[in-house]
C-alpha cells in the first residue's frame, strides 16, 4: 500500500512539479491549492504526510493556521513546511507547531524525496518497533537513535527537527573530527545552503540541548571552517 502525501501549495506549477516528483517516487499525492480546500479534503481522508506552504493565496500565515487545524485532528501527523519564508521567526513559529521539518525554497526534489522517506521510516519505527534496527549511537551522555530519529541527552529527550538530527548525527558520528561547512551543507540535503544557515542550525541545536542541560558545550565552533563534536 503506497503512502499518501498531501501537498498544499498555491502555485500550480510548483504543486505539479512536487506532485510529479513524488509520484515518480511511488507515493500517492493529493494536491490542494488553498487552505479551506486542503482542510476539507484532509478531514475527509487523512494523508500519511503533509507538505505545507505558509503563504496560501491571500492568507499570509495560511500554512501555520492549517498546521494548527491539522494538529487538532491528527497530533502525530508528520508535517513539513516548504516555503520561501526563511526568517528565523517563521522557522521558530513553524517548529513550535510541531512541524517535523522546515525547508526553504528552492528545494532539491531528490532531497525532498529522501526526506519524505526518512520521515516515513521514523513513523514506521514508532509504530512497529519490529523491523531491523540500526545500531543506536551512544556517546557519553548522548543517545542517538537513527531509526526513530530521536536524540536523548542524559536520558532526556531533545526535540530536534529532521535537519537538526542529521547535523547532530553527522557531528557525533566522528567526535573530534571537524565537519566543514561544505560537509554540513551536504548533510542538510538542501539545494542551496549558506554558512549562516548552518550557523543558525547549530545555534538552534545548542539551544535545544541547553534547554535540557544548561552546561551543554559539546558542539565546538572551529572558526572559519566548521564545527566538531567535543571528543570525550
Amino acid at each position: 500500500m503506497s503512502r499518501t502525501i498531501a501537498i498544499v501549495e498555491d502555485d500550480p506549477d510548483q504543486r505539479e512539479n512536487y506532485a510529479d516528483a513524488l509520484l515518480a517516487n511511488g507515493y500517492q499525492v493529493t494536491a490542494y491549492g488553498n487552505r479551506p480546500e486542503a482542510l476539507a479534503g484532509m478531514r475527509h481522508s487523512l494523508p500519511d504526510l503533509v507538505i505545507l506552504d505558509i503563504m496560501l493565496d491571500d492568507e499570509m500565515d495560511g500554512g501555520f493556521d492549517l498546521c494548527r487545524d491539522l494538529r487538532a485532528i491528527a497530533p502525530k501527523l508528520p508535517i513539513i513546511f516548504l516555503t520561501a519564508r526563511d526568517s528565523d521567526i517563521d522557522r521558530v513559529s513553524g517548529l513550535r507547531l510541531d512541524a517535523w521539518d522546515y525547508l526553504t525554497k528552492p528545494v532539491n526534489l531528490q532531497f525532498l524525496s529522501v526526506r519524505v522517506s526518512s520521515l516515513f521510516r521514523i513513523v514506521d519505527t514508532l509504530h512497529t518497533q519490529t523491523t531491523e534496527l540500526e545500531a543506536v549511537l551512544r556517546l557519553g551522555a548522548l543517545q542517538l537513535d537513527p531509526n526513530s530519529m530521536s536524540v536523548r541527552w542524559n536520558g532526556k529527550e531533545v526535540n530536534l527537527t529532521l535537519t537538526e538530527f542529521w547535523l547532530v548525527e553527522s557531528l557525533a558520528r566522528r567526535p573530534g573530527h571537524v565537519k566543514t561547512y561544505e560537509n554540513l551543507m551536504q548533510v542538510t540535503r538542501q539545494s542551496y545552503v549558506e554558512r549562516n544557515t548552518i550557523n543558525g542550525y547549530v545555534r538552534r541545536i545548542r539551544k535545544k540541548f541547553r534547554e535540557v542541560d544548561i552546561d551543554f558545550a559539546m558542539i565546538q565552533t572551529v572558526f572559519g571552517v566548521g564545527y566538531r563534536w567535543q571528543p570525550k
Binding site: D88, K105, P106, V107, S191, F223
Partner: protein
Amino acid sequence: MVIRPARGLSIRTKLLLVAVALLLIPWMGYQYVREMKSFLLQGQEKALSLTARAVSTVLHDRPEFFNPDTGASKLIGEPNDLFAYPLPNYVRLDGKLDDWGESLDQATLYDGSKGLLCGPDYEPDSLFFRQLIGYRGPYLYTVFEVTDDVLILRDPKIRRLDNSDHVRVVIQDPARPVKRYLMTARQPGRMSVYLMDSNWQEPLTGDPNYDIAAEFLPTKNGYVVEIRVPRYIVASQTRIGFMVADVDDDLTREVDVVLNASQNLNKEPLARLLIHSPEIAKILRGLNRPVARIWVLDNQQQVRAVVGRLSREPETNLTANSLRDQLRALYDRALHGIYNLILETPSGEIRDLSANVSHRNDEIFTKALSGSPQTARRPSLDQTTEILMAAHPVWFGDEVLGVVVVEQSSNEVLFPRRQVLENVISVTLLVLIIVTGALLVFASRITLRIRRLRNAAEQAIGIDGRVRTDRITAEAGSGDEIGDLSRSVSGMLGRLSQYTRYLEGLPDTLAHELNNPLNVVNSSLENLQEELPQTQQSKYMERAKNGIVRLRSILTSLTEAANLEEAMKTESPEEFDLVHLVSSYVEGYQLSYPDRAFKLDVRAAPLRISGTPDHIAQMLDKLADNAVDFGTTGTPILVRLDKQHGLARLSVINEGAVLPEDMGDRLFDPMVSIGKKNARRSRLGLGLYVVRLIAEFHRGKVEATNRTDIPGAMFTVSLPLTTST
C-alpha cells in the same frame, strides 16, 4: 543627513530682546515728565503771581508801610523783634487795664522759659508776666501784668534801688551809650524812675528821670505797671529792652530773678521795636516759608521787606528702621548713579541775592511799578538753577505804592519732578527685572521643552534612517502648540514607520515572490532531468542551475540584513577572544581563497569581547569578501588586531582601488556599492551594511579609510573590550 546646530538667535535671546522694549516705559515717563516741566513751571508761575497778588492785596492802602522814615524795618524775620500796636485811644496811667481795649489780646506772656537773668531758685509759678507795647500819638505805652507771689515795695531807708520789685527799661541808640531806666514804687501810684549804672544798683544821679512815666498798682496775684515813653526817645534804629526784677525776701532784699521781656537770654536783651504796621510785618512773617522769598519794594525800588528763603534746609535722612526700608534705601542708593546720569539734579543750595540787597532794578520791577502784574524768570546768581519771579503792584488809591515780588526756585518743581521720575524709574526697573526674569524663565522653559522635543524627535529616527519609535512621549501631554507639535511629530513618525515597515518588508516580500517562480524553474528542471535523462549531461542544464544558484544568492542577501537584526535580538552574548576567532577564520580564508595571501598581524592579545561569535564571524566574512573583491588580484590582504582606548580594533587592509572621498559613512548604507561590477558575482551593496549592523549591535563602530602608504583601503571595526581585560 547632518543637522546643523541653530545659528540664529535662540528663542531666549529673542524674548530678552523683546523685553528690552520695556525700557521704553521709563523713556516714555522721562519724555512725559520733561513735557511736564514747562507745564509745571507755568503752574508754578501762576501760583507765584497769585501769591504776589495776595501779598500785595494785604499791603494795599497802607502807605505807612512804605514811608521811608517810619516804615517797617526792612528785614523782617528776626525772632526777638518787639512789636508796638496802634492803640484805640490814649492810655491813662492808672494801673487799670480797661483803656487798652482789645489790643490787650496781643500781649505776650513771658515766663522763666524765655529769659532768666539770675536766681537759681526760680519757680515758674512764682513770677511771670504779660507785656503789651502800643502807641498812640506821640507816646509809646507798655503795660506789665506781673504775677508775683510776694510783693516787696521800696524801702526808702535803703539807698540801693534794686531792693524791691521793680521794672527795668534799656534803650540804646546807635553809637550812643546804653541808657538804663529803673522804675520802682514805694506805694501804689506813680513810680520813681532813675537812670541807673550798669549794675542796676545805684542811680547815676540822685534826681529822678521824668522822660518816662510809670504807674504801679498791686493786684490780687501781683501788680500791674503802666509805662509811657515819648516817641522821640525811640528812633527807628533804636533798640530797646524790658525786664522785670523780683525781690521776695523782705529782710535780705536781694534780687532773686530778673525776667527778660525777650526771647533771648542776654543779660540786657535789646531788640528792635517795630512800631509801624506790625500786622503787616506779622503777615509777612507768616509768609516766611523756606520755599519762596517775598520782596516788598517801594516805588523808588528800595527794598522794604524780605521774607523767606530760596533754598530748603537739607532734609535730614530718616534712619532706616525696618529691613524693608533698608532694602529700599539700598535699592535707591544703587540707582542714584543712574538718576544722576540721566536726570537734571536740582541743586540743594542756591546762592543768590542776599536779603541785604537794598535796591533792585530788574526790569520786572519797573514794569510792575507801572501798574501791571508781571512774571519773569532769571537764572540764579550761581547759574545752577532758574528762579521764577512774579511781581504785583501795591496800590494806594490809583497810585502805585510799591511792588511785591515773589521769587521761587524752579527746584520747587524740579524736586518733586525728579522724585516722580525716580519713582517711575525705580518701579519700571523693578518691573523690568521681574518681567525679564519671568520671560527668562518662560523662555528657558520653552527652549527646554523644544529641545526635549527635538532630542526625542531626533532619537525617534536612528542614524540609519530607521524609525525607532513611532510615538514621542516628550511633551505629548502638553495642551499648547508644543504639545501639538509633539503629537504631529508622533503622527508623522507613525506614518513614516508604517512606510518604513513596508520598505523593510519589501525585500522579504520580493524574495518570497521571486522564490516561488525560481522554485518552479528549479523543480521543473529537476523533473525534466528525470523525464529526459539525456539532459543531465547538457551544459545548458548546468548553466541554468548556475543561474538559479546566483538568483538564490541574491535573494538570500536581500533578506539577510533584515533577518540578521531579528536574529541578533534573540541572541544572548557570550565572552570570547577576538584574536582566537579571527586567527582561525583567517586560516580558513587562506583555504577558501588560495590565490590571495592573507596576513595576520596581532598587536595585542587576548582581546576579549562580549558578543556572538557567529555574527562577528559573519562580519569578518563580509570584510574579507570586500577586501578580496576590491584588492588588486595577487596582492596580500592584511588583517590587523590591536587595542586602542579600551577598544579592540580589527582592521582589514587591502591594496588596490581607493575609496571615493565623498562617500564617507554612506559606504555602510544598504544598497550602496562602489567599484567594478563583476558579471558573475552579483553585488547588492548589503555586505558592508551587514558589517555595520553587527558592529553596532556589539556597541562598536566601523569606519573606512584609505591607506596612507600605498593605494588601498582599510576597514576598521572598533569593539568595546569587556571590563575583565
